[in-house]
């Protein structure tokens, strides 16, 4: 439906009553959707890899400072996105630590992935860790007693904790794809390059094109619903 609305607006060459001052061609809208998905899905995939590894290491091992690490992860879940954007912008600028070793990434998709990674990783790690810790010790003991290796025990625990882990990934995805502050700062909202659904919505709303902002918002909500539905299916409908 959204596509037909856009098609009407683009093909007719005039403003429809619904889409006042329609600013983009169809290709530009797809590009915005593509950039949003590209940045958020890569960031969430990397965050999941990192978060699950940390959750297993912290959840399975007792070591000095473990409580501090858990507190740090939980604190990270509430990082303000604008602050994260500022820190990442500095890190990837020519004067920042990454910029000085050749990773000058200001106003690039890679910088946006990095900032979304910083935002999503603590959420995925924290919720996954809680799910892993929540698995009964008896289950791990049983896997070990059946002749399981450490990897077998870890995989069995992950399987037992999968609903919590999927919830964590969903929460991380929600944080990443709906985030506007940090991607605006590190990406610069460059049309065709770093413009995402959220930064485009912000721009359109500021310029008074509320109808178009609402359509982009509807696309964003539909995408999140679609991805949640897919993960729900994978999780057996219990998430």
């Amino acid at each position: 439906m959204v596509e037909s609305l856009l098609a009407v607006a683009v093909d007719s060459g005039v403003s429809s009553p619904l889409l006042v001052d329609f600013p983009y061609g169809r290709g530009a809208v797809w590009n915005i959707v593509y950039v949003s998905l590209y940045v958020s899905l890569i960031a969430v995939a990397l965050s999941s890899l990192f978060g699950l590894t940390v959750a297993m290491l912290v959840g399975f091992n007792d070591f000095p400072g473990r409580s501090f690490v858990i507190a740090l992860i939980n604190t990270g879940m509430g990082f303000p996105s604008v602050v994260v954007g500022l820190v990442v912008l500095f890190a990837v600028s020519s004067e920042g630590p990454l910029g000085q070793i050749g990773f000058t990434l200001v106003f690039t998709r890679e910088a946006m992935i990095l900032s979304q990674f910083v935002l999503a990783a603590p959420v995925i790690t924290g919720i996954s860790l809680a799910a892993v810790i929540d698995v009964d010790d008896g289950v791990r003991d049983a896997a070990y007693a059946m002749g399981g290796t450490r990897l077998d025990v870890a995989l069995t625990t992950v399987r037992q904790a999968r609903y919590g882990i999927i919830t964590g990934i969903l929460a991380g995805l929600g944080r990443a794809i709906s985030e506007v502050g940090s991607v605006l700062i590190v990406g610069g909202n460059i049309e065709g390059q770093t413009r995402t659904l959220t930064t485009a919505i912000q721009l359109e709303a500021r310029q008074g094109r509320f109808e178009f902002a609402l359509i982009l918002g509807a696309i964003l909500v539909a995408l999140v619903l679609l991805i949640n539905g897919l993960l729900l299916k994978v999780g057996g409908g219990r998430v």
Binding site: D136, G138, V139, D141, A142, A143, Y144, A145, M146, G147, G148, T149, D152, T156, R159, Q160
Partner: protein, 268 residues
């Protein structure tokens, strides 16, 4: 059947799977004190004693969850903790264990019972069998055979979460046996079960022993030890104070504390 001999006030016995001079504790508290005890294939050894006397700790050491503070855990005369992790894994896979709780995994009864078979495959085989569904089909006869032993062969595809406590414990028993271990450790396996489920499990224990398995049963139920075990060890305050043929231990124990415990006069 050899009667245990006393050394330093502790009964010492040996076997193919054995503890030799094992002492162990947690947080500065001694739980086991100089235990030497063994079991051979085809025999059932019961360890009886009041709750909190160290029976579970003893079984966890035999099952190689933890390394003893002192002494050795031996398989065929070899200290298992001098072996590499890979070699120890091979021995661990010859010793099954059933806990007081069933500790079943999510999924069906079938998945639980075939679990030990799956983790014994190489990773390429596991992935190939998982993708083709061959692993499940290959496991069918083994799963059915072991579920028959506990009378649950018609419940293979029930979710484990839908089982009663007694049924779950019977599935846990079938799971422990499905990979054909040489020894089976049972930690109070029937303490929460009704008489019917207890009888089914005791029959299954008897059947397993008849097939040549060595069974170690930790229990505070003295009547169960009498029904199931060839030999019985009485454990008190982290020490084995009496060990011998079950009938002899129950009718004519040498240690006066063992006699009091068996007569129900030693209350903890």
């Amino acid at each position: 059947m050899m009667k245990g001999r006393y050394e330093n006030g502790n009964v010492t016995e040996t076997g193919r799977l054995a503890l030799a001079g094992v002492s162990h504790g947690f947080d500065g508290t001694d739980v086991l004190d100089d235990i030497s005890l063994g079991v051979n294939p085809g025999e059932a050894l019961a360890i009886i004693g009041p709750s909190g006397t160290g029976k579970t700790t003893l079984l966890r050491l035999v099952s190689m969850f933890d390394r003893p503070d002192e002494g050795t855990v031996e398989f065929d005369g070899t200290d298992v903790w001098t072996l590499s992790e890979r070699e120890r894994l091979d021995i661990r896979r010859r010793v099954g264990m059933v806990f007081q709780e069933a500790n079943l995994f999510d999924g069906t009864v079938h998945r639980n019972v075939r679990y030990p078979l799956g983790i014994r495959q190489s990773w390429p085989d596991r992935i190939r069998n998982w993708l083709s569904g061959l692993g499940r089909r290959k496991a069918n006869p083994v799963v059915t055979e072991h579920l028959q032993l506990v009378g649950l062969e018609d419940d293979q595809f029930r979710p484990a979460s839908s089982l009663s406590g007694g049924e779950a414990q019977r599935v846990a028993f079938a799971r422990a046996l499905s990979s054909a271990p040489e020894f089976l450790l049972l930690d109070e396996p029937t303490s929460d079960l009704d008489p019917r489920n207890t009888a089914i499990l005791e029959d299954a224990i008897d059947a397993a022993r008849s097939r040549g398995l060595g069974v170690v049963l930790a229990t505070h139920d003295m009547h169960q030890a009498e029904r199931v075990a060839d030999r019985t060890a009485v454990m008190l305050e982290g020490r084995i104070i009496e060990c011998g043929p079950t009938e002899q231990v129950f009718t004519d124990p040498e240690d006066p504390r063992a006699r009091k415990f068996i007569d129900g006069e030693l209350i903890y």
